[in-house]
Symmetry: C2
Subunit: 436 residues, 2 copies
């Protein structure tokens, strides 16, 4: 059995904790095992392993997320990197081809495709296993998951089953309706479309060949940027006749907004936060190293990170996206394969950054055309390379790198540098990589 | 005519914008002249000068405020520095002695004593002038200002006048009453005690001699730390028989809490702030360089500085003091006579600070026993002195100061340094000053 987890999106709706380089699925804020908070992607992987320890797991994602996935899941999963973001159908096709051509999976093997972000209980993953079973034995060409609805939502697609049996044929399949239609669907016994699909691997490759003319990994990868942007629902589900639906009635929350995300938090606060006794139903996440004091806050969500501060009524927080799109600020914190960086200060002609390298890691060997840089080693030991010359460094050591100087650093222990960038027009674009 | 302005308090109630080294009276957030926001102390001084340009102004304050006063008012005012904080009566006695012994004022001269923080209109200062006139011609030994009350407040002291005339004798003088008593006072035509007093300079010196045995500046200064902590109201007003009260009916707001302070703000927001269209009656001040997004906030005050973030219901904000007293954090920003510093980052064994020196200024010549420091010059030109040796610096230059190294820097132009402090147990106490 193979799982393809679609890990997309930039997670603007959970600003300021999520941003272009840190998507919501990597925020370690869910109640995990043994007191350690875990991220959505860690949780999904742990839950899959609990019910299907032998299954292969492939994460379909963009380049920007590769470091974060490796940091959180190590080498336990396959990562199928999309060269560009093209919606779910191209991503599924590429992953299917990757499984056959790069991982040697059989076209007869059952595949389950699921999103990374629903917050569910273990029964959900048992249901995924059953869906794979149905697909594997050919109960239908495509198996969907139908969530038993709890209210007439306008946010979800609906599946109208032929019967109320645990597994049923499908009468119709409808995109997001208006409220009145949603009520009518509920009266007809409709189910929410959970965005989960099971089928045989070969089925996906056929669909790829039909629409794109090719189904091998190399070809799909190379022409990926030219592939039509289309969702799996539109490209496949709507045209398929042989569909069955498996009914799921456990916990299922879409934690894509602050309002719903807060409900999954085990504690009301994370980080340095004081709530006075008149606060009610308020959740606060503080990633800054300064305290937050909340007094008389009712039904609010408050979140602070290096990127900004959100203070919102819970219900209003679902409308955050357009506001965040206007805030095209500097990324203030990013997790990298080698460690992390945090922007501490931005001035007109200088920028100060804390760089942390994990032991055994190094930066790319690079130079800048338009800025000078100075490192002060604040913690740890390592080796700096400047224009090919090596030099050991320790706390208190200072390294000056004028514009043009090729440089990198290798961390022996965890290494913390305070980097001051100096010049006019400091930009992330001003970086030339070199071979060593 | 002499004004003594009592500039006390650490302004915890306006946390996080005010702190131990930046009291509320120095926050430049009031609507000033010519679009430039001004602080409480700048506003009071401007308003006094507008009605009494020839008067002397002395500010009674603690050591910590001297730099801020000089930065905001220059050398236009006298500063009488209290060696310790001992409540208003000792402060008034010391200032009176300072005026006679250090400034050569006559004991016959009229003095007006007023707090720094009421938010008032120009008529208030005309009333102060009239009070000085009454005191000068001996209408009574002590002249009070009575504010016409707008509601039965439990927060103020009350003066019950003998008549409803503009100037009247005083029947009784009462401390903060309960609500029912306050209502009764209002029915009797009582006035709020504005905390403003006028008398002759000699009168204050007599009171000092009576209670402390001395009235000369040197003696009072030397035994200041042993003087009884007592307010001017208790020590003088309650025992005085010859009192009259001058009635004032204009704007008078005590802007010591966020709730009242917000009312004086000209704009709803200061700094990088976005309010969505569902916010109501909400004021936001953001001194951080990251954006704040507010959605659906009603009747709130939100304030962010390097010291912390307050998110409060307006009414609740009056109860902030005990919470702030518990937050004994690092001071993250301070205005100094030579410029300012901002703490950018605090780690276990390092701290990163942005230091800005104004042109022509320098730090004390000093050294540290337990920490090394590194400066990276981010902006400007100056001269560094290390163990007696001078060296010119410019942007990109790096200066390393191991523990024990005596150092200072002189700013030729505005100079910005990124300072990294390194060591275990970094503390503001670890500083030895030296002569150059």
């Amino acid at each position: 059995m193979q799982f393809i987890i679609l890990s997309g999106g930039s997670g603007k709706r959970l600003w300021p904790l999520s941003n272009d380089v840190r998507s919501k699925q990597f925020l370690k804020m869910l109640p995990g095992e043994a007191e350690e908070p875990e991220s959505m992607i860690m949780r999904v992987y742990r839950q899959i392993m609990a019910v299907a320890g032998e299954a292969g797991v492939t994460i379909a994602t963009g380049k920007k997320q590769v470091s974060a996935i490796k940091n959180q899941l190590g080498d336990k999963v396959n990562i199928c990197v999309e060269p560009d973001r093209r919606d779910t159908f191209p991503a599924v096709c590429l992953s299917a081809a990757y499984l056959r051509d790069e991982q040697g999976a059989s076209e007869e093997e059952a595949v389950v495709i699921c999103p990374v972000d629903p917050y569910v209980e273990p029964g959900y993953f048992q249901a995924l296993g059953e869906m794979a079973g149905l697909a594997g034995k050919g109960a239908a060409r495509l198996v969907l998951m139908g969530i038993e609805p709890t209210y007439p939502s306008e946010k979800y697609g609906y599946i109208i089953p032929l019967s109320q049996e645990p597994v049923s044929g499908v009468k119709t399949f409808r995109e997001k309706p208006d409220l009145e239609t949603a009520r009518e669907y509920l009266r007809q016994g409709a189910l929410w479309n959970g965005g989960v699909f099971a089928c045989k691997l070969g089925y996906l490759l056929e669909r790829a060949r039909e629409r794109f003319g090719v189904s091998d990994y190399r070809s799909l990868y190379e022409k990926y940027e030219a592939l039509e942007r289309i969702s799996f629902d539109y490209a496949v589900v709507e045209g398929e006749q042989s569909i069955c639906v498996l009914r799921y009635r456990g916990t299922w929350k879409d934690i894509g907004t602050w309002n719903t995300f807060a409900e999954t938090m085990e504690r009301q606060t994370l980080g340095r936060v004081t709530l006075n006794e008149t606060c009610e139903n308020t959740h606060v996440v503080n990633e800054l190293n300064i305290p937050i004091l909340c007094m008389g806050c009712k039904n609010m969500v408050i979140a602070a990170s290096g990127d900004g501060i959100l203070v919102s009524d819970k219900e209003q927080s679902s409308y955050i996206k357009p506001f965040v799109e206007e805030m095209t600020g500097q990324v203030m914190y990013a997790e990298k394969s080698w460690g992390s960086f945090t922007v501490l200060d931005v001035q007109e002609e200088s920028m100060t950054i804390r760089v942390v390298l994990k032991p055994g890691n190094s930066l790319h060997y690079h130079s800048h055309e338009h800025r000078n840089e100075v490192w002060t080693v604040a913690e740890g030991r390592g080796t700096v390379v400047l224009d090919g010359k090596e030099r050991k460094v320790q706390p208190g050591d200072v390294v000056s790198m004028p514009a043009g100087c090729k440089h990198t650093v290798y961390a022996e222990t965890q290494l913390q540098l305070i980097e001051v960038q100096l010049g006019r027009g400091i930009s992330v674009e001003d970086k030339v990589k070199h071979e060593r």
